[in-house]
Symmetry: C2
Subunit: 347 residues, 2 copies
């Protein structure tokens, strides 16, 4: 027996109400909802009018059960960078707005040995439409394979092409760092040091590669003492910079692989009485809020993170009735060097 359909008293209208009101079967209503091509235009319009008039909205829970798939987009990450998580969220949500999709946020522990198993049970339970994988876990090929095997769409974000265009939103870290360091060389610096990100992060690798390529292009011999590793945190930048600034001869410029470490570098310089940029030029990476607000305002690299989040969401929605038009730049996300006041020619 089919009793769902509340005959107008209380509650929200169901597909049966619409069917009864428009004098068709519920399957036909379903076809209207799902934009089935094999539908008489007249009946489509008639049903559509009733839907609009009643304010009917399909029940997502029932659809999820029947389709064995939810209208949810997952954001799976290991909180590498607050600015990034929030920027990506903002981008995704901007695209999801007005669609029937919602965003569900899922932090994971990249160090855990059960990482893949955790994500698996999450995906199996929630039956998401798709997920966005943030670095560094986006670099895990096992996770991508898992999504595939579970029939869950995915898009990986990262600093290099790890996957095909449908599954990847990449920035050009290497290239832009090459430009940044070339800029330092161009204004006369020869003793240029780097504070790298932690080993195992693709972003750290790419940025260091860009640094080395720029040195090489400028004919500067790499100096092992001019490279120190940080972990993307302020304190590590401070420590790394102190080490770097203790070298003889002292570097006249430091590229820090993110803004937080650049801020640490600034503190380190100040602690030994160095003026920035007169005695030391500093370049950061990310263009977080801190970059423009410290003194001197930091020359840094701006990463179009919100746009990348949007692109990821658009790729996930491709082929659905909520499909968003692919944007021209969805394949390439050029970062750019933002020149502020922390860089100057060496004395």
């Amino acid at each position: 027996m089919d009793t769902n359909g509340n005959s107008g008293r209380g509650g929200k209208p169901t597909i049966n109400d619409i069917a009864r009101l428009s004098g068709v079967s519920k399957k036909t209503v379903s076809r209207v909802i799902n934009r089935s091509p094999l539908l008489n235009e007249d009946t489509r319009k008639r049903v559509d009018d009733i839907i609009r008039a009643t304010g009917y909205v399909p029940n997502p829970q029932a659809r999820a059960l029947a389709l064995r798939r939810n209208f949810l987009i997952g954001l799976v990450h290991d909180n590498p960078n607050a600015q990034m998580v929030l920027g990506v969220q903002q981008g995704i949500l901007g695209v999801l707005k007005g669609t029937e999709y919602e965003l569900i946020v899922r932090p994971v522990d990249r160090g855990s040995t059960t990482l893949v198993a955790d994500v698996r049970s999450f995906l199996e339970r929630q039956r998401l439409h798709g997920v966005v994988l943030l670095p560094p876990i986006s670099e895990n090929n096992g996770l991508a394979a898992l999504c595939d095997s579970l029939g869950c769409r995915y898009v990986r974000m990262g600093s290099a092409d790890l996957d095909d265009a449908a599954h990847m939103v990449a920035s050009n870290d290497r290239e832009v760092v090459r430009d940044a360091v070339a800029y330092l060389a161009g204004i006369g610096h020869r003793r240029i040091a780097i504070i790298t990100g932690p080993q195992g992060f693709r972003s750290a690798f790419e940025r260091r590669q860009g640094y080395e390529e720029a040195l090489s292009a400028a004919g500067i011999a790499p100096n092992p003492g001019y490279a120190a590793e940080g972990n993307y945190r302020f304190e590590s930048g401070l420590a790394a910079a102190r080490m770097l600034l203790a070298q003889a001869p002292r570097p006249t410029a430091i590229f820090a692989s993110n803004d937080e470490m650049a801020a640490g570098t600034l503190h380190a310089a100040r602690m030994i009485g160095l003026d920035v940029p007169a005695d030391l030029s500093i370049i950061g990476f990310d263009d977080t809020a801190i970059a423009a607000h410290i003194w001197p305002p930091l020359t840094t690299v701006r990463w179009p993170i919100v746009e990348m989040g949007k692109a990821a969401a658009r790729k996930l929605l491709a082929g659905t009735i909520d499909e968003q038009p692919e944007m021209p730049g969805d394949a390439l996300f050029p970062s750019q060097l933002i020149q502020r006041a922390s860089t100057a020619p060496p004395k």
Copy 2:
């Protein structure tokens, strides 16, 4: 006919598989899942063993349909402050971890005339277990009433008690600002200015009240020229500070209602050659990453935002099988003054 249950071939086990395997009805299995008290301990254990052995997990979509309620917690906000959104998320997710609940993030537009209608359709569609309302929209009583009428649990976060304990997680902004300004007075400042937050924000109101109460307690007559309004952004802080510093006599200390505006104040001071803290003391609010990383490190107020997010989630989960123990501090979230290097006695 009852055919769901896949007899072991492919797919994940359903409640019917468990029922068949343990020789009971599916209703009994359902009782085990939902911890029904009226259950023979023997059968409970037997079914539980099968569940564990098979790795059975109830299908959330089916439960949602039958219960007409989802196992989702919503975070509804209007992005007032990135740090805050992320901190609350972190707190909520920390509590949700290990439970069957997930977090769904929903930005809204507080300026929209359809705000309440938007939230209504969101809640009606998703049938969330509960929502966390962030300021400033948490100050909207209509939203709280809406949640109530929809049978959706809610917790409001804010700077003052707007609701009963079960629905409110509040910080003591007024009190802590009173302490902060009293501290300035205590080290000798008499000309203390304030940069307020935007009108209409309860946090702005509370912080200003705290400022005025402290002045009054210190026997300092309020000077209208020593108050300027900002909008919580860097640029507004910069502009407000320039105005304040143009007053004669010039204030020797400025309390900025958040860190970003405090950073703007620092820039304004530097632009006219003032030394901080020798010529001007500055106190901020939030203890965002920027506070500790600018120069000089900023004296500010630390707001236990992550703990507040946790408390909100715990209140939402109260009474469920995933109930988390109430923590001692779940009613009170004392902020504290973090003394760093941007404050000193006046010259």
